[in-house]
Symmetry: C2
Subunit: 154 residues, 2 copies
């Protein structure tokens, strides 16, 4: 499907900011998050910009600037994140219009569109069952450590 990593990186960033804030820090920089995700700060800023548009994070500019959560992690779900960073459909139609003189060519797109709409709604419902709080909990459970563990180890 040529899957991309946008949902993964966005969830990573949110979990990182959330954990960092629990350690008493006000804002996290794109550079810190990028170091944790092993990517470029601009990639993080692009994704967080979309999350900001969805009301999930806020940003400050100037010296001491950075990113902070706009809501509690427990009130955000992967559905919110998915809809913020994946605007397009899951399945595409034909690149070129099928033969409208053919019964199958004529009806296939409306039929598949309706089927796909139901499937995508189910996907969204499933994503909405997982909060970012769940994600952070699962992440920290992989390598058990002290409560309030430092994201980057320092």
């Amino acid at each position: 499907m040529s899957a991309n990593s946008r949902l993964t990186i966005a969830a990573h960033a949110l979990a990182w900011i959330g954990l960092y804030q629990r350690q008493g820090h006000e804002v996290a920089t794109s550079e810190q998050i990028a170091a944790s995700a092993n990517t470029n700060p601009v990639v993080i800023r692009r994704l967080l910009g979309e999350l900001r548009g969805a009301g999930l994070v806020e940003s400050r500019r100037g010296v001491g600037a950075g990113w902070s959560l706009a809501r509690e992690l427990g009130s955000m779900t992967l559905r919110d994140v998915y809809e913020a960073v994946e605007p397009g459909p899951l399945f595409a139609m034909h690149r070129a219009t099928p033969d409208q003189e053919c019964a199958v060519g004529f009806g296939i797109q409306p039929a598949m569109r309706e089927i796909y709409a139901g499937v995508e709604e189910t996907l969204r419902q499933e994503l909405s069952r997982v909060t970012l709080e769940d994600v952070l909990r699962d992440v920290l459970a992989v390598r058990p450590g002290p409560t309030g563990e430092v994201p980057s180890g320092g």
Copy 2:
């Protein structure tokens, strides 16, 4: 997500073959199907080759060759087709390994892998609720016509 049309085209091909066979024809050629889907016969042969590997269709070679269903449309679901033409995962992990010294970087991939596995299983279950018989019925319902209507109008 950079969605592709593989599932759509594969469903189109199966519906076309199924309808064509109901009109008394034994096999359908990739050229006929390609004309209906408005694409190249090689594209159809590639997809049908994957469906053949999954046991959904059969092919004959030589003069008068072509494609036929290996099972009834009612016994195939979109899940079968999806698994035949979409081997990869729905969501990708980080392109580069995240910082393993960071608690989030260390735990994010196992955590997301498990979450994604559940989501993808839900997607498959939803796709398994739709048979290709359902698809063909929906397709023909878009433009009501006589039972046994000719796919390409001739």
